[in-house]
Symmetry: C4
Subunit: 202 residues, 4 copies
């Protein structure tokens, strides 16, 4: 698991999705009781080492030095609601931009793109994906409740945006979660540039 999260970090760093020490990743390592491998707070995701991946469970760090990501509560909500095996959170330019532009509408619809088929369970470009947008909040317990409600209200969504903050997505395993990041980032850039193109002189 750790090796996979480290490799994902390098890949996402190359794309500019985890600048500074932004982003955080987790993978479920046990279900009963629930155990997570989760990135240490304040690490650069492009330069992770095994020591930067903590074991978390029973509400605390069980193994490793330092604090788990401040957003651990959000990871736990997603694991509980979706049975996800991996949760990935990234910060990109396009997710930041669109999360604000469509923030007042509470979400963003994406449809008509072949790339939608890269989302688990989607078999046609005619699929309509609703990507909820949540107001950003530094109060993690409060934000966790909003995440729980959002996941309940949108049982088929594959991710959500935090306004002017970034993307959360997940998957059964790290490879699927990483694929969802790539797919959603591709779609967000496509949506943004297409919107821009509508302003070109015809």
């Amino acid at each position: 698991m750790d090796t996979e999260l480290i490799r994902i970090g390098r890949r996402f760093d190359a794309r500019g999705w985890v600048m500074g020490t932004s982003g955080n990743f987790s993978a479920v390592t046990g279900r009963d009781p629930l155990r997570l491998a989760i990135t240490r707070s304040g690490t650069h995701k492009g330069e992770l080492t095994p020591a930067d991946i903590l074991e978390y469970g029973d509400g605390r760090v069980l193994r490793g030095e330092g604090a788990a990501s401040a957003e651990t509560a959000l990871h736990l909500e997603i694991v509980a609601a979706r049975g996800a095996g991996c949760v990935l959170h990234t910060h990109s330019i396009w997710s930041t931009l669109l999360s604000h532009r469509h923030g007042d509408e509470g979400g963003l619809a994406i449809e008509g793109y072949e790339m939608l088929k890269g989302l688990a369970g989607v078999s046609t470009h005619e699929h309509r994906e609703w990507l909820p947008i949540l107001e950003n909040d530094q109060d993690m317990p409060r934000l966790a409740i909003v995440v729980r409600r959002t996941l309940a209200d949108h049982p088929s969504c594959h991710g959500f945006l935090l306004r002017r903050h970034g993307l959360y997505t997940w998957g059964a395993a790290p490879a699927e979660a990483a694929r969802h990041v790539e797919i959603l980032e591709f779609l967000l850039e496509s949506v943004a540039r297409s919107k821009e193109a509508e302003s070109w002189r015809s």
Copy 2:
């Protein structure tokens, strides 16, 4: 052949043209009977291993685990119509954008660029390349027929776009097909940004 497809995958991944598990590649390994090396469905093209390249022929996978790309039928049409030795399919932001913008016109003309000379048989920037755009379709046998007709109607085209889906191009060998991807992607970005520049204040 396998090594070449693996290297092409890494190169295209670095450019963001095969995000998620998108895209698929094939190379002809025998002509009589026809044999293809083709990427396994659902693989990440930036992380291909030899086991991800299947041998295909006589309408089925002859060697390797897993299914051939769902779009194998399109590869076969191109090999048959053009005698291509390699077919490459990629998903980029610019091909996605322009395939939709010009979709209703059925294609896109590109002319006046020196880079056109990177297309096989083109010796001057004054060449006019017509890049056909086909409606996207999840019904592969039906889409294969449209591909066949398009290739017949445009005997000198070097590639085509599927609407909001991506680019297909080909070549006598992997190196030529990869060059065509790079050339066409460069030209598509140039066309899009030039169109954008027409809207700048003069």
Copy 3:
């Protein structure tokens, strides 16, 4: 220290922030008397070797061949005013663009972004960062005085821009300074693209 500056150079080169031989980096190696490791003038920051990092103190190069960066005086002002352990100067497209666009206003406010929390001491996206913009000047002693006054006038700023020139930021150690570059560059691109998006047809 040298190894860290070399690695930072490679990272920033990959992002296009130190094109040509632009940019310069320093790290404090002693406080009493003050000693700096600083990049030699005219080196490519993506290809630094240990020989390209000079020891500087008492107003001159103490160890190594060649001249210290022409902008050493600015590094010294920042170290003195902020107690910084590392000063990094980069040239990016977005800092160049925004430093000119907002140059007449003397600075640029950035607020509302989660990424602001990557700046030392910032704990909420509601933080408002004022990034001062100074007129570019080839007279280094004169520019050093302007830098000193700017740092005094804006005691909580994390960096500043030189108009049509680039970004200066700093940190307690190389890792923090590098994080500030990544954070500020992300924010500058976000601000610029958001401004652009305001012109899209709604």
Copy 4:
């Protein structure tokens, strides 16, 4: 020399400036008689091997298999007129775009940018660089004459653009020529994006 050209090719490929098999590089290896190391026609500049660098002199290939770049005549004009030790030709999106937009004016002025100081002999951002733009032409002897006249008419220019084709620049040695490519490409992108920004809503 060969090693330097190979490394430059890898660097420029990573930036997308030598897509397909575009671009060509040369370095002077002897002055009397004149000898050039020059890239073989039809090679990918990101994957050069020593065998792809030919020795050229007395109007023909002296060592190596294959043909010298079709644009060898232009390299020779630049070496003769400027005493250059290295000539680099690249194809980028921004040079393609601006060479067309400003083609009718015969060139493009760049001034006010700190990055101008990366051009040999320029010591202030107040420098005004005139980058001539030549009409593209497949007739190399004729184009060589236009290059010769352009270099005579603009004795202090550091490069020129071929319309919808690309950039030529040079330097005393490969490192300086490569620096000029990076500097001019940075400036061209800056000029283009600044122009774009003028259209943003104020």
